[in-house]
């Protein structure tokens, strides 16, 4: 910190904590801190944390007016969420599961079943 001087031990720990955040943003090659980025929007991980209405049925009981394309159901656990027992698991076991599915609305039939 340039304008504040940490004086006691607690202030020192706060400075270290803040410095770690800056290191996390720095370029690993040069070790130089990258220019300060605005905070990323906070996206909670895990489907139980996300409230997204309109996946299942629309207001008329059909699927024509969903807020999200129905195909998103196929991908949401796969891409937006991870925990170790999950299948399919894009981090460890099935990183290529959607390789053949360039556009979900068109290619979703190409996605195969997964057997652990």
């Amino acid at each position: 910190m340039k304008h504040l001087k940490p004086v006691n031990q607690k202030a020192g720990r706060i400075e270290q904590h803040l410095a770690r955040d800056v290191v996390a943003l720095s370029d690993p090659q040069s070790g130089q801190a990258t220019p300060q980025q605005p905070d990323e929007p906070h996206i909670p991980l895990g489907c139980s944390l996300v409230f997204q209405p309109g996946w299942e049925v629309d207001s008329s009981g059909g699927t024509a007016g969903l807020c999200s394309p129905v195909e998103r159901d196929l991908f949401d656990c796969y891409l937006g969420c991870f925990w170790p027992a999950q299948v399919p698991d894009q981090l460890n076991y099935t990183p290529d599961w959607t390789k053949t599915c360039a556009a979900a609305q068109k290619d979703w039939r190409k996605i195969d079943l997964i057997f652990p």
């Binding site: 340039k2 504040l4 004086v7 006691n8 202030a11 300060q36």
Partner: protein, 483 residues
């Protein structure tokens, strides 16, 4: 974190103070201390109690600082939460409870509830007492068996703690000297068996000190605190024998012997300040320099409203003036790396340096418990023996559910008055026993002390700031020590 230039900003929660020509912030509730440079001091001064966008700050400070410097300074102040967005919803921190069962580090044994003195203000015997010491169920003296059970209880409750502290209290502790001796031997053996360290201390009025007792205290490295109120005219006002005679002439020669022979541990004096015993500087000089105590600590008497000895508002002003004089002396000594024996300031400086932010005012019911003469376990020595504050017994153990309930209901976050006070990281509402005596409940803060606590904490912060600027090496004596 980034500064949005048009969003209104306002100041966060802190106490600003000045020392050694520099501005400092004492952050609340983190208890961090930051020194400000000119830019950040100017930013906070302009922001004051109002809300203002960063771009306005830049404009107002344009003749003194470059825009980038102001933005950078605001960014840092926001990172440490000295500044925040004015309209941001409050983000209260979650109430943090200590882990339970919390290991015991200190056990205080009330080895007797009897005393050979008759000090008017004594919380154990005066009208403010909460333990029935005369007609109650607790025996007058702790038995050897109960003392040993207490030691076993302490060893069990201390879990993985490497060094435990056993403190003897009373009544007058030396009235039960035989049990003291046997308990120290027993505790030392038990600690050795368990591979733990153990330290002992006791508090006494010094009237019963004899050469053989002094020898024993020195040989066993028992820390000794002497309750003494100052020069003869002050000591003899309220610290009197049952017949009414003063104790000064009996006590002082014995204390001098103690100080001469017992050099294995620092010997401290503990002064109770009352309405007419308030000349802090005179008391300190007498006890430290004329008699030779290593440290002198002061505490205002615990009393309900309206007692003859209760300190009034003007008395608190006098007391704080005396404390400030001694704090200045302490500072001069610290800058030259000399010892100064005013323990009130030293203890607070240590807490400031470490950045301690308390959820509870003291360790009572947490890492410290008190045992009454019959073996009942209370929050601390002041509550030991009170049926209303009983956690269990040393023989049967304590009810940890009661302990958890106590901790949940006495957390500083639940003390509404404290939530507006910048001194809460150090005070946390103050002594439970004091609150109980004044207000009839342990749950509330000691509101009669608030102004005094804030004035005193401000003094200690300024002393700390001076030391940190001019002789930071001195502060290393506080580092690495257990709290």
């Amino acid at each position: 974190m980034s500064v949005r230039s048009e969003v209104a900003l306002s100041t966060g929660e802190y106490h600003a103070f000045e020392a050694a020509g520099r501005q400092f912030l004492y952050m609340v509730p983190s208890a961090a201390v930051f020194g400000l440079d000119e830019t950040s001091a100017a930013v906070l001064e302009h922001l004051g109690g109002q809300s203002m966008a960063a771009s306005e700050l830049v404009d107002q400070l344009a003749d003194r600082f470059a825009p980038e410097a102001v933005y950078h300074s605001v960014n840092e102040l926001m990172q440490v939460r000295a500044v925040g967005e004015a309209d941001a919803p409050p983000q209260p921190l979650a109430k943090q409870m200590p882990p339970t069962p919390f290991p015991l580090t200190t056990l205080v044994l009330n080895v007797t509830n009897q005393c050979n003195l008759s000090c008017g203000y004594c919380y154990e015997y005066s009208d403010d007492k909460i333990v029935d010491t005369e007609n109650g169920s607790q025996p007058k003296f702790m038995s050897e068996e109960t003392a040993q059970q207490s030691v076993d209880f302490m060893m069990g409750e201390s879990a993985e703690i490497e060094t435990v502290h056993l403190t003897f209290f009373g009544g007058e502790t030396l009235m039960n000297f035989p049990v003291l001796q046997k308990t120290v031997d027993y505790a030392r053996d038990r600690a050795a068996q368990l591979g733990k360290g153990i330290e002992f201390s006791l508090t006494t009025n010094a009237t019963l000190l004899r050469p053989d007792i002094i020898e024993w205290l020195a040989d066993n490295e028992i820390g000794v605190t002497v309750s003494i109120d100052g020069p003869k005219e002050m000591q003899d006002q309220l610290r009197i024998f049952k017949g009414g005679g003063g104790t000064y002439d009996i006590v002082v020669p014995k204390v001098r012997e103690l100080l001469k022979r017992h050099t294995t541990r620092p010997i401290g004096a503990r002064v109770t300040l009352t309405k007419n015993v308030l000349d802090v500087k005179k008391i300190y000089d007498h006890l430290r320099h004329d008699i030779g105590f290593t440290e002198v600590g002061f505490a205002p008497v615990t009393t309900s409203w309206g007692r003859d000895w209760a300190i009034g508002d003007d008395g608190f002003d006098k007391m704080i003036r005396g404390f400030n004089v001694l704090a200045e002396e302490f500072l001069e000594a610290a800058l030259e790396n000399r010892h100064h024996g005013f323990s009130n300031v030293k203890d607070t400086i240590e807490e400031i340096h470490k950045g301690i932010s308390k959820a509870y005012p003291c360790g009572a019911g947490l890492g410290l418990l008190g045992v009454a003469t019959g073996g009942d376990v209370g929050l601390c020595h002041r509550f030991a023996g009170s049926d209303d504050h009983k956690l269990g017994t040393v023989a049967d153990g304590i009810d940890h559910r009661y302990q958890v309930e106590f901790l949940e209901t006495h957390h500083v976050d639940d003390k509404t008055d404290c939530q507006k006070c910048w001194a809460r990281p150090l005070c946390a509402g103050g002594c439970y026993h004091e609150a109980h005596t004044r207000y009839g409940t342990t749950r509330g803060p000691n509101l009669h002390y608030c102004d005094w606590i804030r004035a005193w904490t401000d003094t200690c912060l300024r002393v700390y700031g001076e030391i940190a600027e001019h002789n930071p090496g001195y502060l290393t004596i506080f580092e690495g020590r257990d709290q």
